[in-house]
């Protein structure tokens, strides 16, 4: 317990943050999907680590995470991406350098926000809290700053990951049943969004959400 554990938690959370930043940095949906897969694997590993030091029930959660978010959803994303071809993220609303800098400001903000919180709690995982908040903010930023619907979906999935991370480091994991419900919610949300994206693509021939503002005729 103690030193090595909190270092590992911090390392995993930073890794998740880096994968979120990769989405801001790279261009091209396959890279985003890979980043999301890495993030989910890191989340599963982190959950298992917390389970090792705390509640053994978290192993189940970790396994479920690995299966659902680490394998199933990335595979679904890949089929989706293959169907639309390798369309690039043409021009996000904010260019890459500026969005990376904005992301760093968001991280600083998350740390400042997390300060009083960290002063109160005595959890060994408390150093992961501001990092989880940072992942949350960065994925929100991905959702608002990218134009393609599929990238926005990946941003949403990363947001979901961030909330799961927050649950794991903030409370040592919520009860299995609640976690399971959240998973199913996320999966349902994803499937609904997938249907939406297929329809957007069929109707507008593009995934650029700017096209939705125009009238069809």
């Amino acid at each position: 317990m103690g030193g090595a554990f909190s270092q590992l938690v911090m390392l995993g959370s930073s890794g998740m943050l880096v994968t979120a930043l990769i989405v801001l940095w790279r261009k091209g949906v396959p890279a985003y999907i890979t980043a999301y897969r890495w993030q989910s694997w890191l989340l599963a590993a982190l959950t298992a680590t917390v389970g090792y030091y705390g509640d053994g029930q978290l192993y189940w959660v970790a396994g479920l995470l690995l299966g659902l978010k680490g394998v199933a959803i990335p595979a679904l994303l890949r089929t989706m991406q293959r169907r639309f071809g390798t369309e690039r993220e043409a021009a996000p609303y904010v260019n890459t350098e500026v969005s990376l800098l904005i992301a760093s400001v968001l991280v600083v903000f998350a740390y400042l926000l997390g300060r009083p919180w960290m002063a109160v709690t005595q959890l060994p995982t408390r150093q992961g809290l501001p990092l989880a908040m940072s992942v949350l903010f960065v994925s929100l930023f991905i959702i608002v700053s990218r134009k393609k619907a599929i990238t926005q979906v990946i941003g949403f999935l990363m947001l979901e990951n961030a909330i799961a991370l927050l649950a794991v480091v903030g409370t040592f994991g919520v009860p299995f049943l609640v976690e399971f419900g959240v998973f199913l919610d996320a999966l349902m949300g994803f499937l609904v969004m997938q249907i939406f994206i297929y329809h957007i693509h069929d109707t507008f021939d593009t995934l650029d959400v700017d096209a939705l503002a125009r009238l069809r005729h």
């Binding site: 030193g3 090595a4 270092q7 590992l8 911090m10 390392l11 959370s13 930073s14 943050l17 880096v18 930043l21 940095w25 890459t96 350098e97 990376l100 800098l101 992301a103 760093s104 991280v107 600083v108 740390y111 400042l112 300060r115 960290m118 150093q127 501001p130 990092l131």
Partner: protein, 313 residues
């Protein structure tokens, strides 16, 4: 005693190893690309050959052009005596912390850019302006990753940083440490003209940065610059290796400890050089306009490193 030995032994070892390191990267790259490649010790022959040749200097060149090779080589040698390569003196020297080392290396770069402009050739000016752009972009990353290290050690002194990491091995796993390492590695690639930023193996006029600046040099001048650049690569890699993974460094001037220090330095440098070779085989050169994206990504990593050490205390 040991602090004076550092001043003498380390630069000599570094000077001896540097061309071999560059040759090793080239050789490994060639093997990875299914070419036979020149043997790793080829740069030694090249430097000896260049020293035997006549130097040709343009009419329009001023003293800056002649002085630059000595500045580049001299700063590299001085820095090689400062950084922990095989030996960390127990009682630190008065001068010589991380800032001094990094900015001495930048002094060499600055003079190289001046010399590129000095002869008035279009390539020199182009290379110099590009180099200055890249250096200006790497600057904040360098400073921040140093600060990340210095914050956790409470000092910018090499010996104290190394001693702190050895005393607390768990800290080496921390994100502050790892992210700063990645940021510094990206900066190393940019500063030493390696692949995603600059292509070290061609003289393709549209893309070159470092080669464009040294295009006018010949003979012993070129030898000094080549040797100095090789030394710069070695120093940057030694910084990255020994500040973040300091195990194996010698702390006293005992022959046994020195031998272990040398062996571990060679292993670490070899590993990092192999990483560079693999990376250069896998990635293509970035467009010049996309270099800022890479460097701002490394800046964000360095900033995260500082955050996680500074705000979490």
């Amino acid at each position: 005693m040991s602090r004076y030995a550092v001043l003498v032994v380390q630069p000599l070892v570094a000077l001896g190893l540097a061309p071999g390191l560059v040759g090793f990267v080239r050789w490994l790259k060639a093997r990875l690309q299914s070419r036979r490649g020149a043997p790793p010790w080829q740069p030694y022959f090249e430097i000896r050959k260049l020293f035997g040749k006549e130097a040709v200097v343009s009419h329009t060149a001023s003293w800056i052009f002649r002085a630059t090779p000595f500045v580049v080589f001299g700063t590299s040698v001085v820095v090689a005596s400062l950084v922990p390569l095989i030996l960390v003196p127990a009682s630190p020297l008065v001068a010589g912390d991380v800032f001094a080392a990094v900015y001495l290396l930048l002094l060499g770069t600055f003079f190289l850019a001046l010399a590129g402009l000095d002869t008035g050739s279009p390539f020199g000016g182009m290379g110099a302006s590009r180099e200055m752009t890249v250096v200006a972009l790497t600057e904040p990353t360098v400073a921040l990753s140093i600060v990340a290290l210095a914050l956790s050690a409470g000092s910018t002194n090499f010996s104290q940083i190394v001693a702190r990491t050895i005393a607390e091995p768990a800290a080496a796993l921390g994100p502050g440490h790892l992210l700063a390492f990645i940021a510094l590695f990206v900066v190393t690639l940019a500063e030493t003209g390696r692949l995603p930023v600059d292509n070290p193996s061609t003289h393709l006029e549209l893309t070159m940065i470092h080669e464009a600046m040294v295009l006018e040099y010949s003979g012993p001048y070129l030898a000094l610059i080549e040797w100095g650049s090789a030394l710069k690569l070695l120093v940057f890699l030694a910084l990255a290796a020994n500040l973040f993974i300091p195990w194996g460094l010698a702390f006293a001037l005992a022959p046994g400890a020195l031998a272990i220090g040398l062996a571990s330095a060679i292993v670490k440098l070899g590993a990092l050089a192999a990483t560079i070779a693999v990376l250069e085989t896998r990635v293509a050169k970035l467009r010049l306009f996309r270099v800022p994206e890479l460097l701002s990504a490394s800046f964000v990593l360095a900033l995260l490193a500082v955050m996680s050490t500074f705000l979490v205390r």
